[in-house]
Symmetry: D2
Subunit: 283 residues, 4 copies
């Protein structure tokens, strides 16, 4: 049985908007004598969608609470009641260490409410870094492989790691096919090194240099089938000037990339992100 006293649970609701939703949900909480620790609601008027994230504490049986909430909410509701537990994540990287390293340092400091199950890479270059932290490192080389063949090997590798909550692409520089993306829908977080939708695709810093922009940025997003077009989670920018070569942009951009990716990961681990209509609602 799944009963806990005085622990905090996250109730996540996404459904068509209608009158009385807050009333109905808060009535359930009230009659169960639950404490609302925090409460966020949002109505997307364009799509008539209601989003709610409540953190509640008290004597909770997850399945039972879910059932009762389901009874009062509309038919189509996406409902989750998340009990406290460390999420299992896998990091993927290629050659650059800044985004990966930023996560490792946070992990080591106990900042992440997660277990890093493994790091998977198409090179073995980052193995020495990852090994320092006692995390399993798997090299799945793409050399001499067709894209599909390589991806099959990666998928196998991932499958062997068991249940995964999030895959974090910490500068993993290979394009994923729809097969991969569909296997982990809304579970793959990528960092793109530009202020999307500017500079989609390869070498965004070179593109930015050519265009002569005065600001560069980074975008963390869920991965979907269209390259760099998934739901955006977080973005940030830094000011640059004419004196920046594209290599300077790349160097400076790394700081934005790693902070934005780590921020997106934190939001995901705290169940703060809702996805709808290729956009995110973030509480």
């Amino acid at each position: 049985m799944n009963i806990n006293m005085n622990e905090q649970y996250r109730v996540l609701i996404q459904c068509n908007d209608e009158k009385g939703l807050v009333y109905k949900v808060s009535t359930v909480f009230y009659h169960r004598n639950l404490n609302i620790i925090s409460n966020h609601e949002f109505v997307d008027k364009t799509h008539n969608k209601f989003f709610m994230r409540s953190v509640v504490a008290g004597d909770i049986d997850v399945e039972d609470l879910k059932q009762e909430l389901s009874n009062v909410l509309p038919k189509d509701t996406i409902l989750e009641v998340v009990a406290p537990r460390k999420k299992r994540i896998v990091l993927m990287a290629t050659k650059e260490s800044h985004a990966l390293g930023d996560i490792l340092i946070r992990y080591e400091a106990g900042e992440l409410d997660a277990e890093i199950v493994a790091v998977v890479s198409n090179y073995d270059l980052l193995e020495p870094l990852v090994s320092k932290f006692g995390i399993p490192f798997y090299t799945v080389s793409h050399v001499g492989c067709e894209r599909d063949e390589h991806e099959s090997k990666v998928l196998e590798c991932l499958k062997a790691l068991g249940e995964i909550d999030y895959i974090v692409l910490a500068k993993y520089m290979r394009i994923l096919t729809s097969r991969f993306v569909e296997a982990y829908e809304d579970k793959i977080i990528n960092i793109h090194h530009s202020f999307l939708p500017a500079f989609i695709g390869a070498n965004p810093y070179k593109q930015a240099y050519e265009r002569g922009v005065k600001i560069i940025g980074a975008t963390a997003h869920f991965v979907n089938n269209n390259l760099d077009e998934g739901p955006i989670i977080a973005q940030n920018v830094i000011h640059i000037d004419h004196a920046y070569s594209w290599e300077d942009m790349q160097r400076s951009g790394k700081d934005v990339e790693k902070i934005v990716l780590s921020k997106a990961l934190k939001l995901a681990l705290e169940d703060r992100i809702f996805v709808h209509a290729n956009k995110t609602v973030i509480f």
Copy 2:
């Protein structure tokens, strides 16, 4: 009688936190068949205070709704139900026109949900600008006056203008005494030309220049008895470098000042600001 159909009302609640507040309030809304347009809640755990701002639409009798909410809420509750109306504001200025001008341009464009009743200044320098916009301008000179005497004249001038929702100090460079502040508690919005609490007092840009800071800022806050120590509403900053003289800082700082002040004013006009323990909660 005060009944309107389908208009939006703002319900503002501030009280000691206890279990069931959201349930109780949403129950009242539900049984009155009101639509919740938007809903924000926050619990200040340090002070055990609950804050809620709901925008509701439907058939509303303000006094009646207030009464019913009062019945279910704790004794100490500060409760307001705000019907849609233009707030009456007075601007005060001295010599600089940037913050004042920014508000005037917005006003002319119909951006502000307010009526600017008058501009009051201790100089007549800005009268030509204000007159362009057809707004009454009152010069209350401080020359040859004691501080108290001057302030009495200003207060008289304000009293003659009738009910005032907010007084906006758009770079009004005179210090207000407690008599003035108490007459308009939590109704006076000031823009201070520094990133408070850095550089309290006179000539913050000169202070910033002397200190060699790399960022300057501006702070909009409610005015209380202690100079520059009232509850902060909004702040912003810009990056500078060694090449800025203090006059350059002043010039560049104006852009931050005016945007921050106008933002704070907008928040106030939309009843988004709660004040408690010398801090603001902003929805």
Copy 3:
């Protein structure tokens, strides 16, 4: 004759890079007994171009100084010696007043080292605002005109205004043809209401809303033949979240637009912008 004592002149040099340029230029200044007030140099290594902006004071004959500098600089050099004078600018607008108003308030305060010769618009909507400031307003309606015909009328109107240093498109919502752009090459400053190159074209805020970005921005740029693809002068951004409708983005974006456009105008008036290879070098 063009001799002034102790006034500040701006020397602007753009040429192919070669050894000894700083030496040669500073030797000319030294032997003429000129004081260097400030000095900025940059070498664009990609294009092997040297850029220099010196502010010098002393006894200067513009033509004579230009001649001597020409003698020591490479053949292809673009060289200007700018004596202090107010630049003549024309503002163009359509219906929105925020960017225009921001410039007018600065102008009234004496902040702009320029003379606003006129405001030209395809609507008469902003005439009341502009008239307050005593600036000639010309309505050149596009209604019932082909694009070319309308543009011819605008060009005539501009021609009649005499020499123009800069045309500032303060939210002028008509696309200019190459005929127009070529007539005022590198003299037309536009504000685009997005963070270029994201959201080129119409309704960038709607595009941004659809894409679900977490940051919006504005870009001031010189206008060239390709829509929204001219050299970028200045950019800035603000953070937004899922609760912003596209109308909210538009409203909030106005603050960025006006500040960025006014900043670009200031840079232009101070002769701080060099254009090369569709990019700007800004000192």
Copy 4:
């Protein structure tokens, strides 16, 4: 002898301003057939000080070049000609790993043009992290010591490490006495976890929480005798709101702290920082 071909040297000049300085310096470079890679000048008019940083390439004898420049520059000139070499730095920390870890990850990636000689701490808590990177870790406990006694031990430890270019206080939470500061004047870089001069001293995040600020920041500065009052090198901020507890501020603030400290360190390693009158000039 100290002759190198085609390597880049940094020429750093700080002296009283007078006419002809650029001419004189560039004449020396020209006659020695040196290539100017980049050139920055600034005149602090308040203090009549001239600052110049030139990166030059060519056939350079450091002492000889220094001598010739000395001959043409004013008597009081502070002059350095820096040949390319890795600077030797020591990191100091206490318990928090974010700023230290950020530097270690950069170091491992070869991003820093420096050798980290050692990490010194008053706790052994970070030894496991530092050891992963093969860097010597020295614990100099303050437990049971007077401040002076503890500092003597730290100074001894540092002395044993040989010549040190910079000491980086990566959240070293002990106050240094003037004896320590004077031993390493303008060589100690600290990160203070507030936007100085706001919230000097202990627990700045608690202070910020109490004050109800809407922005928090971090400041990297050289350490001098007055706590948190040394020359500022770099600052940055993030926006927060009423929902942040001081612990949330602390958590979020770490990201700013580490990026700002690493940025300041990079500027120092590239010899881009001049110190004068308790302020920095940064090229």
